[in-house]
C-alpha cells in the first residue's frame, strides 16, 4: 500500500473525474470510496467507470445479475484484481492496492463463499490461523490467551458456539459463516466484504447471519454484502447498489425502494415511472 496523500485541500472530492452522483448520505464521510473503476478481461469490459462508496456503520448491498461485475468489484477492493483505471480512497487517503495484503493492512477484510476455514481445527485455531500467539521463552502456543480472546470476540458479536474448542467440522453452516465473519473482523477491520453470506443456509441459520451483519454495522463497521437474495438484502441493507453489465445503474435507499424496482434495475426492464434515485 502506498499513501499518496490526503484529499487536495483537505476536502474529499465530491465530484471528481466525471462527477459521481452526490451521495444520499452526504452528511457523513465515506470510509471507502471507489472512483471510476474500470477493468477489462480481454475484450470483456467487466467494470466500466464504477463509483462505489461505503460509509461506517452501514450495510451496502451489491446486487446484480450473473456477470454484472459484483465479484469483479469485490475482488478489486480485496486486491485480487488490479483495476485498469480509477482511484481508491480509504479514510480520506488515496491508496494503491497492489495485492491482497494491502487491503488487509488498511482494515478491509473479505469473507468469500468458501469461508476458508480448516474443518479439522477448532474455532480458536481458525480465528487465529496464521496469527497464532506464542509464549516468548519456549515458543509454545498460548492456548489460554487465544481461547480467552476468541471467546470474547464471539461473545461481543453474540455468535453462539457451544464450545470454541470444537472443530469446525462439528458446526452448522450458519455457525461456520459466523466464525468466518468473526475472524475477518477481529483483526481491526473497518470494512468487511461478505460474498453471498447466506447462499447455502437454511432459514434459521440465515437469520443468525443477518443478525450478525446488523451487529457488525452497529459496532461501526462498513459492511458490503453481495447477495442474490433480495429478501435478505431488504432485511439488512441500508443502501442497495445495482450493477448491470459492468456499470452502476442505480443506488437506492432501502427504505425508499421496492423489490420490484430493484429487480427492474437488475434486469434493465421498464418499471412504471422508473427513475433511479441517483
Amino acid at each position: 500500500m502506498t499513501e499518496t496523500g490526503g484529499w487536495p485541500g483537505g476536502h474529499p472530492p465530491t465530484a471528481p473525474s466525471g462527477g459521481p452522483p452526490p451521495s444520499v448520505t452526504s452528511d457523513r464521510q465515506p470510509i471507502l470510496q471507489l472512483r471510476a473503476i474500470s477493468k477489462h478481461f480481454g475484450a470483456v469490459e467487466a467494470l466500466s467507470g464504477v463509483d462505489f462508496d461505503v460509509y461506517p456503520s452501514e450495510v451496502v448491498a451489491l446486487v446484480g445479475d450473473n456477470g454484472a461485475g459484483k465479484s469483479t468489484l469485490v475482488k478489486t477492493i480485496a486486491g485480487i484484481n488490479i483495476p485498469d483505471s480509477g482511484e481508491i480512497w480509504f479514510e480520506g487517503q488515496h491508496v494503491a492496492i497492489h495485492g491482497p495484503r494491502d487491503p488487509a493492512a488498511l482494515g478491509i477484510s473479505t469473507v468469500y463463499q468458501d469461508l476458508a476455514l480448516c474443518d479439522n481445527l477448532d474455532v480458536v485455531a481458525n480465528l487465529y490461523l496464521g496469527r497464532e500467539e506464542v509464549e516468548p521463552p519456549v515458543l509454545l502456543l498460548s492456548e489460554e490467551r487465544m481461547e480467552q480472546r476468541a471467546r470474547e470476540v464471539l461473545k461481543s458479536l453474540d455468535v453462539k458456539i457451544p464450545n470454541p474448542r470444537n472443530p469446525i467440522a462439528a458446526l452448522s453452516g450458519g455457525q461456520r459463516q459466523s466464525v468466518a465473519v468473526a475472524r475477518s473482523v477481529m483483526w481491526k477491520a473497518k470494512v468487511v466484504l461478505l460474498d453471498e453470506p447466506t447462499a447455502a443456509l437454511g432459514v434459521q441459520q440465515t437469520k443468525q447471519v443477518l443478525e450478525l451483519i446488523l451487529r457488525l454495522r452497529n459496532q461501526g463497521l462498513g459492511v458490503v454484502v453481495i447477495s442474490h437474495n433480495l429478501a435478505n438484502v431488504f432485511e439488512v441493507a441500508d443502501r442497495i447498489v445495482v450493477l448491470r453489465l459492468g456499470k452502476r445503474v442505480g443506488t437506492y435507499e432501502r427504505k425508499a425502494a421496492s423489490e420490484e424496482r430493484i429487480v427492474a434495475a437488475i434486469t434493465g426492464a421498464e418499471f412504471g415511472k422508473f427513475q433511479p434515485q441517483v
Binding site: P100, D114, L115, A116, L117, C118, D119, N120, L121, A125, L129, G130, R131, E132, V134, L139, L140, L141, E144, R145, E147, Q148, R151, E152, K155, K160, I161, P162, N163, P167, A169, A170, L171, S172, G173
Partner: protein, 403 residues
C-alpha cells in the same frame, strides 16, 4: 469473561459429561486412539491364549526393541499424512542412510557420531529434494517419492558396492539398539515422566483457571493421567524384571514425545494441521504452505534415516535388503492403524507408536507360534484394511455430523 459465560455448562457430574463428550466425538467420527488400543488389547489376549510366553517380560522387552526402527520411520509418515501427502521413499531412505553410515564407519573408519550424522543428513537432503520437486513442479507426492523409492534404492546398492553385507563393529553404533539400562535408571526416568506429566496437567489447569476459561472435569483429567501413569509404571516394572529398559525404546519415545509436542503445541505444528485440513485457507491466512510442505518432507526423510540407523544397529549389519520388503508398508500401515487419517489434517504422532506396537505384536506373536511369512502378511493386511475402514467410516460420520 467468567466461566459462567461459557456456553458449555456441564449437564452432569464431570465424569458423565466427559463420557458424553467422548460419545459425541466418537459419533462425529473423531475416534482418536480408542480403536487401536482396543485392537492392541485384543491382539495381545489372542496371542497370550495361544502362547503364554507372549506376555512374558522377556518377550515384551524384545517386542519394544523390535519396533524402534519402524516406529521412528512411522513418526515421519504421520507428519506427511497430516499434510494429506505420502512418502513412498522412506524404505529406500532407511536403507541408503544406514548404508552410508556403515560405509563411513567401517570402510572409512569414521567415528560413530559423524557417521550417524552423515546418515541423518542424507535423509534430510533427500526429503528436502523431494519436497522441493513436489511443491515446485506440483507433481503428486506419491509419484515424486515413488521415483525416490527406486532412485535411493539404486543409490544404496551403489554405496555398498561389491559388498553384500557390511557388519557393524563400532561400539557406539551397536549400543543404540543393544544398550539396556538397569532398573534404577528405568525407575528414575519413569518417575521423572510421571512428575512432568502431572506438573503439565496442573499448570495447564491453573492457567485456564487464571484466564477464566471453563475447565474439563478434574476427575476425567485425573483418570486420563492415571491411565498414562499406570502404563508408564507397568511397562517399567515389566522391563525392570528382565534385562532393563532398552535405549532403543527411549530413543523411540524421545522422537514420539518430541514430535507430539511440536505438532500439538507449536505454531509450526498448527500450520501442518492447517495445510492438511485446507491448504487454500492456510495460504490465504498467510501461512507459507510450500515452506511447511518442504520442511515436513525434510523431517520425514530425516526420521526415515534415523529408523534405518536404529535398524542397522539392531541387526549389527547393513545389507542389500536393508529397508526393502515390508519396511515402507509397515511404517505406513502403522501410522494408519494408529489412527492417523490418510485424508490429511487428522491424527497424532502417538499413532506411530501404537501402530508400530500392533504390527510388531503381530509379527512377534506369529513368530512365537512359528507361523511363516504367508500368515504374517495376511494378518497384517487384514488389520490394515480394518484400520482404514474405521478411518473411512469415521470420515463419513464427520461429514454427516458436519452438515
Amino acid at each position: 469473561m467468567s466461566a459462567a459465560g461459557a456456553p458449555s455448562a456441564p449437564t452432569g457430574p464431570p465424569v458423565v459429561s466427559n463420557l458424553q463428550s467422548l460419545w459425541r466425538r466418537v459419533s462425529q467420527g473423531d475416534v482418536g486412539s480408542l480403536p487401536v488400543i482396543a485392537g492392541l488389547v485384543l491382539i495381545w489376549l489372542v496371542f497370550y491364549s495361544l502362547n503364554p510366553l507372549f506376555l512374558s517380560p522377556r518377550n515384551l522387552t524384545n517386542l519394544v526393541s523390535q519396533i524402534a526402527d519402524i516406529g521412528i520411520v512411522s513418526v515421519g509418515i504421520v507428519l506427511v499424512l497430516l499434510l494429506g501427502e505420502i512418502d513412498l521413499s522412506v524404505g529406500s531412505v532407511y536403507g541408503l542412510a544406514s548404508a552410508v553410515m556403515a560405509v563411513l564407519s567401517v570402510q572409512y573408519g569414521w567415528s560413530a557420531a559423524p557417521a550417524i550424522v552423515a546418515g541423518l543428513l542424507v535423509g534430510t537432503a533427500i526429503g528436502t529434494f523431494q519436497g522441493f520437486f513436489f511443491t515446485r513442479f506440483r507433481i503428486p507426492s506419491f509419484v515424486v517419492t515413488l521415483a525416490g523409492l527406486l532412485t535411493w534404492f539404486g543409490a544404496q546398492l551403489h554405496v555398498m558396492g561389491e559388498k553384500g553385507t557390511i557388519n557393524l563393529d563400532d561400539p557406539t553404533i551397536v549400543q543404540l539398539a543393544g544398550q539396556f539400562f538397569p532398573p534404577s535408571v528405568g525407575w528414575t526416568l519413569a518417575v521423572i515422566a510421571v512428575v512432568v506429566l502431572a506438573t503439565d496437567l496442573f499448570i495447564r489447569r491453573r492457567r485456564r483457571a487464571a484466564a477464566g476459561l471453563p475447565q474439563a472435569g478434574l476427575a476425567g483429567d485425573l483418570v486420563k493421567l492415571g491411565a498414562v501413569v499406570a502404563v508408564i509404571l507397568g511397562a517399567t516394572a515389566i522391563m525392570a524384571s528382565d534385562e532393563g529398559v532398552p535405549l532403543s525404546l527411549l530413543i523411540l519415545l524421545g522422537f514420539v514425545v518430541g514430535f507430539d509436542l511440536i505438532t500439538t503445541r507449536t505454531k509450526f505444528g498448527r500450520h501442518i494441521f492447517a495445510v492438511g485440513g485446507n491448504a487454500e485457507a492456510a495460504r490465504r491466512a498467510g501461512i507459507s504452505v510450500n515452506g511447511i510442505r518442504i520442511a515436513v518432507f525434510a523431517l520425514c526423510g530425516t526420521l526415515a534415516a534415523a529408523g534405518g540407523i536404529m535398524g542397522a544397529s539392531r541387526l549389527l549389519a547393513v545389507n542389500y535388503n536393508s529397508g526393502t520388503g515390508d519396511t515402507l508398508l509397515n511404517a505406513i500401515a502403522g501410522a494408519v492403524i494408529g489412527g492417523t487419517s490418510l485424508f490429511g489434517g487428522r491424527g497424532t504422532v502417538w499413532s506411530a507408536l501404537t501402530g508400530a506396537l500392533v504390527i510388531g505384536s503381530i509379527n512377534n506373536g506369529l513368530a512365537l507360534l512359528s507361523a511363516a511369512s504367508d500368515v504374517k502378511f495376511m494378518v497384517t493386511g487384514g488389520v490394515l484394511l480394518a484400520a482404514v475402514t474405521i478411518d473411512a467410516v469415521a470420515r463419513q460420520g464427520r461429514q454427516r455430523a458436519g452438515v
